[in-house]
């Protein structure tokens, strides 16, 4: 698409509508790349009625083909790496990645270990980092808020 076409008002309105839709409907697929399960429990807590992110349109999808966001925990073990890459590649564009927990950010307590990759950002492009060991649901919601901003400004 050329620049002139992009600036037509109808297309602009359409793009705005699409950005709005993307921001209000974020489906996530959860992948555990070898975490200790602490972060996963916190992520699930975020979806329970108490924190309830589904009210702002965020929900877990079963299949990576349905998902917009890959929510990844854990330091990526040697065995988990292929599955992580496959899950990421199976997602349709536009796609985003959220790294949850210190392990997913830098390797955490496993940093420098012989069989981990020290965080997922060496393997897939990460959009939002949520530090903590494990991060509280409030922190995860804060991370999702940052993600929504990013989704809205995605062109």
């Amino acid at each position: 698409m050329t620049l002139e076409e992009r600036s037509s008002p109808i297309l602009k309105a359409f793009e705005k509508a699409v950005a709005w839709a993307r921001m209000n409907s974020v489906w996530a697929v959860h992948y555990n790349s070898g975490s200790c399960n602490g972060c996963d429990i916190e992520l699930l807590t975020t979806i329970t009625p108490r924190y309830d992110v589904e009210r702002i349109g965020i929900k877990l999808a079963g299949s990576p083909r349905h998902a917009d966001v890959l929510v990844c925990t854990g330091p990526v073990t040697g065995q988990g790496k292929d599955a992580l890459l496959r899950t990421y590649e199976q997602m349709p564009a536009p796609k985003f990645v959220v790294a949850i927990g210190t392990c997913a950010l830098s390797g955490g307590v496993f940093e420098g270990s012989y069989n981990t990759y020290d965080g997922i950002d060496g393997l897939v492009p990460v959009d939002v980092y949520i530090p903590g060991c494990p991060p509280r649901p409030e922190a995860i919601i804060n991370g999702f808020a940052q993600l929504l901003e990013k989704v809205e400004n995605y062109a």
């Binding site: 509508a17 839709a21 209000n24 349109g57 079963g62 349709p92 564009a93 536009p94």
Partner: protein, 307 residues
């Protein structure tokens, strides 16, 4: 002029845009009711609209090893089936826009088209989750289809016609839910089976087989299947309300009766957990069809005694 009228019927009301909008609204009401029953806040009113717009504008991946034509065609047929059925039911309490002797059967088969397409879509991909989902969807189709049809036969037998509009006018007086309670219950539960709602959601069980037959669908195909489901929900509710709850005289009655039914369905959905596929089949063949047959026998004997 006539062509224009036909086009309007297909594109705006009761087909096309109207069905899409009301389907999305009913999907939201269903989601909200279930959320409230589970003590959650629930989705916002525009949630289904945002979901569908997002899905339609997403990339669509056609996986390797599938028939590309079928992969693209099946979602369209799956939406077209329920959309066509909208022409034969008294949508929004108005007269059906098209009607002929036997349209009840045609409507029921058009509603089954959705499940068939889901099954084919699952069998079309190489993915093992889709295949299991497709097998389950089709197995389930064979279990609830016969009782559902038998249940809807009741009103038709009493009225002595296969035409939906005539059934409604003949059965004006007493609501059929009073005289045929078994058929009504079976029709409602059959509708839930058709829509793969909660106790019967083994074909798309998220916790076991990812997303069932639709695992490989992304973007547009998934959106069409979902919208097809929503449209089918509205049509099914309209059909059951029109046949068993004394017809749909005007738009207000339509809203009251279909939303009342939807409330009941949402209650059942929030109450029950998923049945295994063999339990579903057993339930339908052991109890559902026997009860439906019993109701039919009672009806036939009663109508011969009366006449």
């Amino acid at each position: 002029m006539d062509v224009l009228r036909q086009l309007l019927i297909i594109a705006i009301f009761p087909g096309g845009i109207f069905m899409l909008l009301i389907g999305l609204v009913y999907a939201w009401i269903n989601g909200k009711l279930i959320a409230r029953l589970q003590n959650r806040v629930g989705p916002r009113w525009f949630q289904p609209f945002a979901d569908m717009l997002k899905l339609i504008t997403k990339e669509e991946i056609v996986p390797e090893g599938t028939n590309k034509l079928l992969f693209e065609l099946l979602p369209i047929v799956a939406l077209a089936g329920p959309m066509t059925a909208a022409l034969y039911v008294p949508m929004a309490g108005l007269r059906p826009s098209s009607s002929f002797q036997g349209d009840l059967i045609v409507t029921i088969y058009l509603l089954s088209l959705m499940t068939l397409c889901t099954g084919f879509a699952g069998a079309n991909t190489r993915d093992r989750f889709s295949t299991i989902g497709a097998t389950r969807a089709l197995t389930q189709l064979f279990s609830y289809e016969a009782p559902f049809l038998l249940a809807l036969l009741g009103p038709a037998i009493v009225a002595g016609t296969w035409q939906i509009s005539e059934i409604i006018t003949t059965n004006q007086g007493l609501w059929l839910v009073v005289t045929q309670p078994i058929s009504f219950v079976i029709a409602i539960i059959g509708l839930m089976g058709k829509l793969e709602m909660h106790p019967f959601d083994a074909p798309e069980a998220k916790t076991e087989i990812v997303a069932g037959a639709l695992t490989e669908y992304s973007g547009r195909g998934l959106a069409l299947f979902k919208v097809g489901h929503y449209v089918e929900l509205v049509i099914g509710l309209t059909l059951v309300a029109a046949l068993f709850l004394g017809g749909l005289a005007n738009p207000l009655m339509f809203l009251l009766k279909t939303l009342g039914l939807l409330l009941g369905i949402s209650f059942l959905e929030a109450l029950m957990t998923r049945l295994r596929i063999d339990q579903t089949v057993g339930l339908w063949w052991r109890y559902g069809s026997v009860l439906a047959l019993l109701q039919l026998v009672i009806l036939v004997i009663w109508s011969t005694l009366v006449s």
